[in-house]
């Protein structure tokens, strides 16, 4: 099973090699797409993982036991679709392919599972309909 999410960990957990444990103990295939650690040692890690469904569940439970918050990607980036005019300007900067135009009906399609939270689309939308927060 493959999914993308951000893990947010408190300062006390920043000393634990969380990713190591996910890989070694739960067989996660991890691809880290974005990472920040603040001055207060609070960290955020955007990762794409692939794991067996039961291992995935266990791995996420392990993270939660270390006070790690798991935020699905679709809670971090939102497109106000009902006001969208489907111009396509956002797709110009979305090299990950998360934002694309359906070439048959020319409707904007947003696939949050492809998003890498680069944030380039936010200022590219001429209607300011995209909100992204790496939270």
């Amino acid at each position: 099973m493959r999914c993308r999410f951000t893990i947010k960990f408190p300062p006390e957990s920043s000393k634990i090699p969380l990713t190591y444990h996910l890989i070694k103990d739960y067989d996660f295939m991890v691809n880290i797409l974005r990472a920040t650690i603040s001055g207060e040692q609070e960290g955020r890690l955007l990762m794409e993982v692939e794991a067996e469904p039961d291992k995935l569940e266990q791995g996420l439970a392990f993270l939660k036991s270390h006070n790690v918050t798991i935020i699905p990607l679709n809670q971090q980036i939102t497109v106000e679709q009902d006001r969208c005019i489907h111009c396509g300007a956002c797709t110009a900067v979305c090299l990950s392919g998360a934002l694309s135009l359906d070439r048959d009906n020319w409707q904007l399609v947003f696939d949050s599972e492809k998003c890498v939270m680069c944030g380039l689309c936010v200022p590219a939308c001429p209607l300011r309909l995209i909100r992204a927060e790496f939270k």
Binding site: I85, C87, A92, V93, L95, W106, P123, A124, P126, L127
Partner: protein
């Protein structure tokens, strides 16, 4: 015998509710299958449309007179300055004029005021005058709505460009332009026409378009007021008559009070400024098979220059010639390298407009108007140049 139809004949069919109307996209396979002569017999009207950002747009407003009256010298609407160098309570609000008192990231301009008026919202009017014997008041402040003011006449000096260059950026920096965000090192391409559905690309030599042509403008009936500013019909053309880049333009006008916020939309281009999406639909009369051959133009028949915005000069280098079939496919091939493409004008909205205009014509409500004067051919551009001795 070759078919010929007059405007009168086509309008008689429209009035009788018998006109056959298709869009400029729908006619392409019809002509491929049946040939131009056959289609000229069966189809009466072809609808074209575009919904793109058109900076050269704005609205003439007449607010009505205050008591005591004021001769407005300076006017602001929601903090956006409108040009008031006209009669007492007339002003022209340009779409790209920006309010000066906004926080960074809160860009707000004339286009937004137009949109708020259309949405029926109150807009704050401030005006100052110098006080004259006939207009003694010096200051005025009140809220207005679109319904309350005398006139709101959309008058756009340059819309609906006949073709436009596609944009790319060879420099090492991201460029923020009216052609959207151009990533460095040729990483993306943007373009902005509806290609085979675009009005002026379907009548490349302006047989049916000019001053007086009745059109769909922002959801209402509007008119072509003549050629637009920067009309460049002398542009180099392909053998099919299609110009190889920005060529003819339209000046259009219509009653803002009758328009809809579904077809007029304010826009902000990051680090560039404000613009206005304008929905325009132009119905084309099927006068004969030659007209059909023009209307059958497909994305593969329309080319434009790929212009490098990384060079900050008037004459930017053209790196390649690309077709709209390529541009609309999502990527182009430049010297063996694949570059992703993105439109800036909405094909989806353009199709909605073409369909809506088709409904108007089919319902018998919307008659075709032969232009009083066609758009000029062979007109070229001049430029601003530094003159010696100044």
């Amino acid at each position: 015998m070759a078919i010929r139809k007059s405007y009168e004949e086509i309008n008689a069919k429209i009035r009788a509710g018998q006109a056959v109307v298709v869009t400029a996209e729908e006619i392409i396979p019809m002509v491929a299958e049946q040939g131009a002569e056959k289609v000229a017999q069966t189809v009466d009207v072809v609808t074209t449309a575009t919904f793109g950002p058109m900076c050269s747009s704005g609205v003439f407003l007449n607010f009505g007179h205050s008591d005591p009256p004021i001769r407005m010298k300076k006017v602001w609407l929601n903090g956006v300055s409108a040009y008031a160098g006209l009669a007492a309570v007339d002003a022209y609000l340009g779409a790209t004029e920006e309010a000066e008192d906004r926080e960074p990231g809160q860009t707000y301009g004339g286009a937004h005021v137009i949109q708020e008026l259309l949405e029926g919202r109150s807009v704050h009017l401030e005006a100052v005058g110098s006080g004259t014997d006939c207009y003694p008041l010096r200051e005025w402040e009140s809220d207005i709505t679109l319904a309350e003011i005398n006139e709101a006449i959309l008058f756009n000096p340059r819309n609906a460009y006949q073709n436009y260059a596609a944009a790319v950026n060879s420099s090492a920096e991201t460029l923020y332009t009216y052609m959207g965000v151009l990533l460095p090192n040729l990483a993306n391409v943007t373009y902005s026409t509806s290609g085979a559905l675009s009005p002026l690309l379907n009548d490349p030599e302006y047989r049916t378009i000019g001053l007086g042509t009745r059109i769909f403008l922002g959801g209402a009936v509007g008119y072509v007021a003549g050629h637009g500013t920067q009309h460049n019909s002398a542009r180099e053309r392909l053998p099919n008559g299609v110009p190889l880049g920005g060529a003819a333009t339209l000046s259009v006008t219509g009653n803002l009070k009758e328009m809809s916020p579904d077809y007029i939309q304010a826009a902000v281009y990051e680090k560039y400024g404000v613009s206005l999406f304008v929905g325009i639909g132009v119905p084309m009369p099927v006068l004969d098979a030659d007209m059909v051959r023009c209307l059958a133009v497909s994305d593969a028949d329309i080319y434009t220059g790929l212009v490098d915005y990384g060079v900050p000069r008037r004459a930017r280098p053209v790196l390649a010639k690309v077709s709209y079939a390529e541009l609309k496919s999502g990527q182009i091939n430049l010297n063996g390298r694949r570059i992703p493409t993105a439109p800036l004008s909405s094909m989806r909205k353009a199709r909605q407009i073409a369909a809506r205009l088709g409904e108007w014509v089919r319902s018998g409500q919307f008659l075709l108007q032969e232009p009083a004067e066609r758009l000029p051919l062979g007109k070229s551009l001049t430029s601003l140049n530094v003159k010696e001795g100044c």
